[in-house]
């Protein structure tokens, strides 16, 4: 999921200062799990922080899905028309989808941090960079691109000290973790492969996945 954190309230209020009537939109997906944009946070903004300025509020099921946004916004169509701005408690995907759908001034209340796993509530860890060519099958399911601060593709750097990362001292070296995992799986021979450098010409932003007719979502 996309892990989000709340922007400082002062910064959000400052960005809203020139707008009178506000519509507030939260996220029922990732931001709800992160407790940054779920129903409780929307309620807090509506009743306490922006008291008296909010025309309507809603928690969209998934603000990053244009179809669901269009469906959910039907319920507050009139208020949206009257609003001077929309405060979005969702990740950057949600904000941009709302811009596309409403055409309104949409302001972010959250910062998107990373794609992460939730160990439990309040403990989120970055685990994927959406690199477009998953190699987890070669590394015992441990992602070196995400968990090595240098993103090294072929083993540890010379800064590793007793299995610890030399860049972030509190971190275990991911290549040590990969070695241990492959050793446990009896697959150490996988470490012998030297991976080629990434071909960045295949990663020109913005990327898109468009299904061909009858296709399966496989990248062409």
């Amino acid at each position: 999921m996309m892990i989000t954190t709340q922007k400082a309230k002062e910064a959000v209020l400052s960005s809203l200062s020139s707008y009178g009537k506000i519509v507030l939109i939260g996220c029922g997906g990732c931001a709800a799990t992160c407790q940054t944009g779920g129903s409780e946070q929307v309620k807090e903004w509506e009743e306490k922080i922006l008291a008296g300025r909010v025309l309507a509020s809603i928690v969209c099921e998934e603000p990053c899905d244009e179809r669901l946004v269009r469906r959910d916004l039907r319920r507050i169509k009139k208020e949206l028309e009257e609003a001077d701005a929309v405060l979005v408690l969702a990740c950057g995907l949600g904000v941009q989808t709302l811009v596309d759908v409403t055409g309104k001034v949409c302001l972010p209340g959250l910062d998107s941090q990373f794609y992460g796993k939730a160990e439990r509530l309040g403990r989120f860890f970055e685990r994927c960079q959406a690199c477009g060519s998953c190699l987890l099958g070669e590394t015992g399911g441990v992602c070196f691109l995400t968990r090595c601060p240098k993103g090294l593709r072929n083993g540890p750097c010379e800064d590793m000290i007793e299995g610890k990362c030399g860049v972030k001292d509190d971190l275990d070296c991911v290549w040590k973790a990969i070695y241990d995992r492959l050793e446990a799986l009896g697959q150490l021979e996988k470490l012998n492969r030297v991976r080629d450098p990434e071909d960045w010409s295949e990663h020109l932003h913005p990327q898109q996945v468009i299904w061909e007719r009858g296709g399966t979502g496989e990248r062409g």
Binding site: L152, G155, D159, P197
Partner: protein, 240 residues
């Protein structure tokens, strides 16, 4: 006789004369290893300057922390064009550990990929499109930086030797006893350590080095400590 190499950090200055004077004061050094963690004078320029002035072995340190493959290729062919054939490749320090912690880390290549590229360049191939850009290749002697404190690091060293590393700058192992058990890599090994580390070494450590196949010592000398570096190099040269 083992080679004593003084590793100098490329200074943040435009005063090359002072740098040259500091290097000249290291009379016991048989070679110089120029390392630029980020932001200092170009090792290519300094290396060319030192070679001309002192006529000693020059090792240029290249790393991918702040350079993409195009810049590294440029560095390699420029080194060769300047007559600087000895290069040492490493992963390089992450910018957060350098003077420019805000800088974007590059790591377009990692150490093994850089080693692979250096070999292709030496063979005369342009890494951009694998075309032959210079007939007969480019004279380069390619060394790598390595550690052997764990099985994983030993595996990695073997990989680099298999990939054709010509020599190894090996961080002084935490268990020096293992030095004698280093695999028969058949390549010159230069033990690398800093001034402070070296001062903690005891005579017994040096005896083990003397009995080992080590080809030399690479001593990292901090900027401004050249006089102390020379004193230490001179003292230890008796053991080597």
């Amino acid at each position: 006789m083992r080679l004593l190499i003084a590793q100098l950090e490329c200074p943040i200055t435009t005063d090359i004369e002072t740098f040259l004077a500091a290097a000249k004061s290291l009379v016991s050094a048989g070679g110089f290893h120029l390392y630029n963690p980020g932001g200092g004078l170009s090792p290519l320029a300094l290396g060319s300057f030192l070679q001309e002035e002192l006529g000693k072995e020059i090792y240029l340190h290249f790393h991918p922390a702040d350079r993409n493959r195009a810049a590294l290729f440029s560095d390699l062919i420029t080194a060769s064009a300047l007559g600087l054939e000895k290069v040492v490749l490493s992963s390089g320090q992450h910018p957060v550990k350098t003077r420019f912690p805000q800088a974007k880390p590059v790591y377009d290549l990692d150490l093994l990929q850089l080693l692979q590229m250096a070999h292709r360049v030496r063979a005369g191939f342009d890494p951009a499109d694998e075309s032959e850009f210079i007939e007969g290749g480019v004279p380069l002697q390619i060394g790598v930086s390595a550690k052997v404190d764990s099985p994983l690091e030993l595996l990695r060293l073997k990989q680099m030797v298999d990939m054709g590393a010509d020599y190894v700058f090996l961080k002084w192992p935490s268990q020096l006893l293992d030095l004698s058990r280093l695999p028969e890599i058949g390549k010159p090994i230069y033990l690398s350590l800093g001034l402070e580390e070296l001062e903690k070494k005891e005579e017994g450590d040096w005896r083990k080095v003397k009995d080992s196949p080590v080809a030399g010592i690479n001593l990292r000398i901090p900027v401004g400590q050249e006089a102390k570096g020379e004193e230490v190099l001179r003292w230890h040269s008796r053991y080597l």
